[in-house]
Amino acid sequence: MNSIILRVGTRYLAGILIVFSLYMLIRGHNEPGGGFIGGLIGSTGFVLYAIACGTEDARNALKIMPQNIAVAGLGIALLAGIAAALFGDPLFTGQWLFINPTEDSKGLPLSTVLVFDIGVYLVVFGSILSIVFAMEEEI
């Protein structure tokens, strides 16, 4: 797209969108957000990039083939579910680790549930981009 305004705007917006998407991902367990929403927002960052600067640039920026991101995300989500086996629990039983617990809070949570949500993020992100990039390359 030969629009200078859009290109320059994208320079900022794409970054903001991706930061925002990660934010939505991480806080999703407690506030609106989560892997889906995060992945959707993150992908719009690169969709915008592709529209403004072309898919070649967007692919270069992304560096990894979006399909691989998506499939890896699926693998991560699955491994997060399988991890429960190590603790003798059924598939997709969340495993939690609270770092630095205090009196009034449980501490910083690390969990397979979050890993699962990251997998979801990557799947949505990678999948949308592989479709949009491929379609963009058709026109």
Partner: protein, 753 residues
């Protein structure tokens, strides 16, 4: 053989089944003494006990007679084939099929479980199909194979139904138990259906009128197959089954009339048609039909004479018919033709064959002192024992026998003993001994048992009658001279009439050819049936699988509508009048927005309007989610809606306009669409009238934070409570992406990044 000069012969493949059948023959012969003394041998292997199906074998007189015929004639046919077809590239297959057939046939006649019997029955059908299809290179060969398979297969399905009903009615599939319940069966309401279904199976298998037409066509098979399957064994499977069930099912009016009339008619009809044939094998095929008719006729009776006649003629016919088929094979093989009008004067070149043929033909014609004579006398005795209208049936039999007499002369005497008038394709020569063994032995047996019928009587006939009637008491004696009686008189009339027919057979044949051409032809009917079936299939496919996607979609939606609306009406599940009192104006506005967007999408012929209108609907739906407290869903909805617009906008760049001239007005579609919309609303309103059970949500609300450590309950459901759903869902997303990518790139030639 001339045809396959390089091929090895008399190898293991060819001789093993000879040994096998001889061994079996010896085994069965060994059992003969016991059987004659009324012992029965029963072997049971459980197969599917929970369905009452076992592989159980029972050897009684009837089975033994058949088993000996099958294994004995089998041995000769195998020996014969080894020369006749030895070296043929598909000889091994042929032998395999033929041996399988023989074993299946033995299984059939020995089986004591109806379902096991059916299994063997069908195995004979398949092997016969493969054997008839030996000449698979020709359209005719394939047609004949299919015809035989289809006709007998159709009968077999009826038979299966009959057997199942019989088993259910009798409470067992074991024949030995069923036969003990004859009176119960005959009194049962299902007796008639069972009888009809079973007779459908046996009549097709035994080529009774009007299912006779497949048998002459099956002569496309190699001659040993014809000799074995289509005269001595398989076609008699139907007869066997009727005989097998005779004790349980005979004696009713319907049994008597059906079998008697069908048998008599087939006998006469077939022998008339036999006379019309000029191909020796075809002529024999029709005489086989006559024999089967005769056997059926006798099975319609219950008298001792009839049963003895049945048993005797069964054996007689197998002996002479197998011999004659093999002889025709020798003639064909030797001269290259089977045309009755050409063949003549072979006696000098083929003396052994000629003698064997003469012996067999005399037995067939019913000359004393051959076994055929005894058989014929018993037949007349049996027919005269019929309770009602015996003379009509006797007349029929007389006519059939006379024709048989004439045909025996035409087929087995004329080619050898008349002067040659026309050139033959090949100069005749005697067939090699393995091919002569069978006919000679079989023909001699016919003569031997005629003179000395006692062993036959004790070993086979009496036990068979015992199987049919329960005891040997009523079995009649086999003897050449029974004094001057009605049967003898009929025999003399038969001979006289036979000679007359023989003399006048040429003009008679010409007349028959004309008559036949005028009469309905079942073989042509078969073709018409196939054409009709294909036409029906094609018509149905045109109507249903039209190839027009729009029709498919319309039918699918119409089905949905009819199914739901019909059920709503049938079950009166309508909701009460909807209650709009709680509706607020913002929600009404949103509803209006969504509806407006939807209607605009449906009616516009502009793509960008459609896209924008879709966007409006998406926004409206997101507003619903916002108003009713679903922020996560609203965000997702808005994001997805945006991506939908982006993707559609990209795709549309390459796609043409929505309408080519003229707008898209479709009133009929609109009716269906409105109907579906209305019914959806109705069902939903009805559902909303039931109170909602919030158990699940209540549980999620109280456990979300304490146990799953999340305060966004929706997200906790997604990643924890129902993570498996979410996992499946992301799999959908990944695969959608991979599929879409693959679709765009498989052949587009674009390089992958």
């Amino acid at each position: 053989m001339a045809e396959y000069p390089d091929a090895p012969r008399n190898n293991l493949v060819g001789l093993a089944p000879v040994a096998l059948s001889l061994g079996l023959f010896a085994f069965f012969l060994g059992q003969a003494g016991g059987v004659a003394n009324g012992e029965t041998l029963r072997i049971v292997w459980e197969w599917v006990p929970s369905l009452g199906i076992s592989i159980s074998f029972l050897l009684d007189g009837l089975s033994l007679t058949f088993a000996l015929l099958i294994s004995g004639i089998g041995a000769m046919v195998f020996l014969y084939s080894n020369t006749y077809l030895g070296g043929h590239p598909q000889f091994a297959r042929f032998v395999l099929f033929l041996a399988s057939f023989m074993l299946a046939m033995l299984g059939l006649v020995l089986a004591d479980n109806l379902i096991a019997l059916f299994v063997f029955w069908e195995l004979t059908t398949i092997t016969s199909y493969l054997l008839i299809g030996f000449g698979h290179d020709t359209t005719k060969g394939r047609r004949s194979a299919l015809q035989a398979l289809f006709v007998t297969g159709a009968g077999a399905l009826a038979l299966l139904a009959g057997m199942i009903l019989l088993g259910f009615t009798a409470g067992s599939f074991e024949l030995s138990e069923i036969l003990a319940k004859g009176d119960e069966l005959k009194a049962h309401a299902l007796y008639l259906p069972i009888l009809i279904l079973i007779l459908a199976g046996t009549f097709t298998k035994s080529a009774q009128f009007p299912f006779h037409f497949w048998l002459p066509n099956a002569m496309a098979a190699p001659t040993p197959v014809s000799a074995f399957l289509h005269s001595a064994t398989m076609v008699k499977a139907g007869v066997y089954l009727m005989a097998r069930l005779h004790p349980a099912m005979s004696g009713t009016e319907v049994w008597f009339w059906t079998l008697t009339i069908a048998g008599a008619f087939t006998a006469v009809f077939a022998s008339v048609l036999a006379l019309r044939q000029t191909d020796l094998k075809q002529a024999l095929a029709y005489t086989t039909l006559m024999a089967l008719g005769t056997l059926t006729l006798f099975l319609g009776q219950t008298s001792g004479y009839a049963m003895t006649a049945f048993a005797t003629f069964l054996i007689v016919h197998s002996l002479y018919k197998a011999a004659l088929f093999l002889i025709v094979g020798c003639i064909d093989h030797s001269t290259g033709t089977r045309e009755a009008d050409i063949l003549a004067g072979l006696g000098r070149a083929m003396p052994v064959t000629a003698v064997a043929a003469a012996l067999a033909a005399l037995s067939m014609a019913g000359f004393p002192p051959f076994l055929g004579f005894i058989g014929k006398e018993l037949k007349y005795a049996g027919i005269l024992a019929i309770g009602s209208e015996p003379f009509i049936f006797a007349l029929a039999l007389l006519l059939a026998n006379a024709l048989m007499f004439a045909i025996a002369g035409i087929v087995a005497l004329r080619p050898f003993w008349t002067r040659r008038t026309a050139d033959l394709p090949r100069e005749p020569h005697e067939a090699p001994w393995p091919m002569l063994m069978g006919p000679v032995i079989l023909a001699c047996l016919g003569a031997y048992f005629g003179i000395n019928p006692d062993p036959l009587q004790t070993v086979l006939v009496d036990p068979t009658v015992a199987s049919l009637l329960g005891s040997t008491e009523d079995a009649k004696e086999l003897k050449l001279w029974a004094g001057v009686n009605m049967p003898l008189i009929l025999s003399i009339v038969t001979v006289a009439l036979g000679i007359a027919i023989y003399i006048g057979h040429r003009p008679l044949r010409a007349f028959l050819a004309r008559a036949d051409a005028a009469a309905p032809n079942f073989d042509v009917g078969w073709d018409k049936f196939l054409v009709g079936l294909k036409a029906l299939a094609a018509w149905q496919t045109r109507v249903i699988q039209t190839g027009r996607l729009r029709t498919y979609i319309a039918v699918t939606f119409a089905t949905v509508f009819i199914a739901i609306a019909g059920t709503m009406i049938a079950r009166n599940a309508w909701p009460g009048l909807p209650d709009f009192s709680e509706a607020t104006w913002p929600v009404a506005a949103i509803a209006l927005l969504i509806s407006g967007g939807a209607v605009m999408t449906a009616l516009t012929s502009s793509r960008i309007t459609a896209m924008a209108a879709l966007g409006v609907v998406g926004i409206g739906v997101a507003l619903v989610f916002i108003v009713f407290s679903a922020p996560d869903v609203a965000i997702t909805q808005l994001l997805v809606e945006t991506l939908v617009v982006v993707l559609v906008a990209v795709a549309l760049l390459r796609l043409p306009l929505l309408d080519r001239g003229g707008r898209d007005h479709r009133p009929k579609d609109a009716v269906l669409a409105i109907g579906l919309g209305a019914i959806t609303t109705a069902v939903l309103l009805a559902v909303l009238e039931t109170p909602l059970d919030r158990r699940l949500t209540d549980y999620f609300e109280v456990t979300s934070w304490p146990e799953a450590f999340g305060r966004n309950i929706v997200n906790v459901i997604l990643v924890d409570f129902r993570a498996l759903d979410t996992f499946g869902e992301i799999a959908v997303v990944v695969i959608a992406a991979l599929s879409a990518y693959a679709l765009l790139r498989t052949t587009s030639g674009k390089k992958d990044p």
